[in-house]
């Protein structure tokens, strides 16, 4: 423990004490209050409210409604942060040869066969979580990470070669990721584009009928609400997240030799 560490420790301890004091002194209201914040109550009252459709997202689940509708632009840029990170990782490891030397052994035949049987089940449960995002807990990101787990499992159990041979090379995965994001983008401006074409007022991220904007996404599909844009957002997000996370995992698990080979034929201009 040198002097520097002591200084850091003391300043962090001061910060912690200050934070604790603020909380104890009621800076954030009473601890475990009975009253709900007014804004939260507004969301809960409006998340599924066909009697006041102007502020409603037509989604049974308040969290998904806030994430994709009330604060849709947050989530759009959140998913673009993930995009930036994944493209950044593949930029960092650019120039590797995908097929050379990647382990093609995988695990034993028993595990492979078991994984085969499991794969459609994992896929469909991920899809189910995404499709029901606006009805039950869950949503696009959750479903997408389920599916990504399957791809990671396949690449561990069967080897990366197998996954690549089945058409899921990193460049294809990147394109899938882009396609999912473009789907999200298209959904978010769909009504705006329709509005611009027909000369009607519309908003970016518009979902249902809003003040001074009469366009609306389909609120019902058969016997359940769709939450308008929420269904499409969830499905596209699931695709994007599944492709993105498995891409990042594959790139990060590349072996040393491949990366070093890419480093040697470096391209560093200043």
């Amino acid at each position: 423990m040198n002097f520097r560490e002591v200084v850091i420790a003391v300043s962090i301890a001061l910060m912690v004490l200050l934070l604790a004091y603020v909380i104890e002194a009621g800076g954030l209201g009473p601890i475990a209050p009975q009253r709900l914040r007014e804004l939260a109550a507004s969301y809960l009252l409006n998340t599924y409210n066909p009697w006041n459709i102007i502020q409603s997202a037509q989604s049974l689940e308040a969290v998904t409604a806030i994430v994709w509708d009330y604060r849709g632009i947050d989530t759009f840029f959140e998913t673009s942060v993930l995009f930036i990170s994944i493209v950044g990782v593949s930029l960092l490891f650019r120039g590797y040869r995908e097929k050379a030397g990647i382990s093609n052994r995988g695990l034993s035949e028993i595990v492979k066969t078991s994984t085969k049987i499991l794969s459609p089940l994992i896929l469909i449960s991920g899809l189910s979580i995404a499709i029901h995002g606006h009805l039950t807990p869950g949503g696009g990101f959750q479903g997408g990470s389920f599916i990504a787990v399957l791809l990671v499992l396949l690449s561990v159990v069967f080897s990366l070669d197998f996954v690549v041979e089945r058409g899921l090379s990193t460049s294809r995965l990147l394109v899938l990721r882009s396609l999912g994001l473009l789907g999200v983008l298209a959904t978010s401006v769909a009504l705006l584009v329709v509005g611009l074409l027909t000369g009607v007022n519309a908003y970016i991220f518009q979902n249902m009928v809003r003040e001074g904007a009469s366009l609306s996404m389909p609120p019902w599909f058969l016997d359940r609400p769709t939450g308008g844009t929420l269904l499409f957002f969830n499905v596209f997000e699931a695709l994007a997240v599944a492709a993105g996370l498995s891409l990042a995992f594959i790139v990060l698990s590349l072996r040393r030799e491949e990366v070093e080979e890419a480093l040697e034929k470096g391209e560093w201009y200043e």
């Binding site: 049987i117 794969s119 896929l123 899809l127 189910s128």
Partner: protein, 168 residues
């Protein structure tokens, strides 16, 4: 025809799992789920099925059910009682060994079913499988013999009989 049947088999497995997983029978879920299941079926069919199915496979499915009941009822109960005795006895009395046993089923599914049954009965675990020469290497908690053929009789004969009928 047989091709459609294999698609149908994968589809029905996926779709029934979907219904159980999502837990609703609303039209919304059923319709979207069937679309999703069709997508999944198209994606994974070639991974799952290498040989197209035929109608005779229905008979095999019945065997699978029978096998499952037999397996749960007899082999598991015996093995569980054995391991309970071992664990609860005053002095742990075991003779662990890794023995080699041959198998004769043709397909990977059959092999996996046999290996899975062996592993799932407490007291025996498949440690390694040699698909070229068709041997399992089994860790046996209370080894009675080290002879491959005799060990096979003790461990896997009954599993293999049904497995051969189901998957060939």
């Amino acid at each position: 025809m047989s091709r459609a049947l294999s698609y149908l088999a994968v589809f029905s497995m996926t779709y029934s799992f979907y219904i159980v997983f999502s837990g609703t029978t609303s039209l919304f879920s059923l319709v979207l789920g069937s679309l999703g299941s069709i997508l999944v079926t198209v994606l994974v069919k070639s991974l799952l099925i290498s040989r197209e199915l035929s109608l005779s496979d229905i008979r095999r499915l019945t065997y699978l059910v029978l096998y499952y009941i037999y397996y749960m009822a007899v082999a598991e109960v015996r093995a569980h009682i054995d391991i309970a005795k071992i664990v609860l006895s005053r002095k742990i009395n075991i003779s662990p060994a890794i023995v080699k046993i041959p198998y004769y089923v043709e397909t990977n599914y059959g092999m996996t079913l046999v290996a899975g049954s062996i592993t799932n009965t407490p007291g025996t675990i498949v440690i390694q499988v040699d698909t070229g020469r068709k041997y399992f290497y089994v860790h046996w908690l209370v080894a009675k013999t080290f002879e491959p053929a005799r060990a096979r009789e003790d461990i896997s004969t009954s599993f293999e009989k049904y497995s051969q009928k189901i998957f060939g």
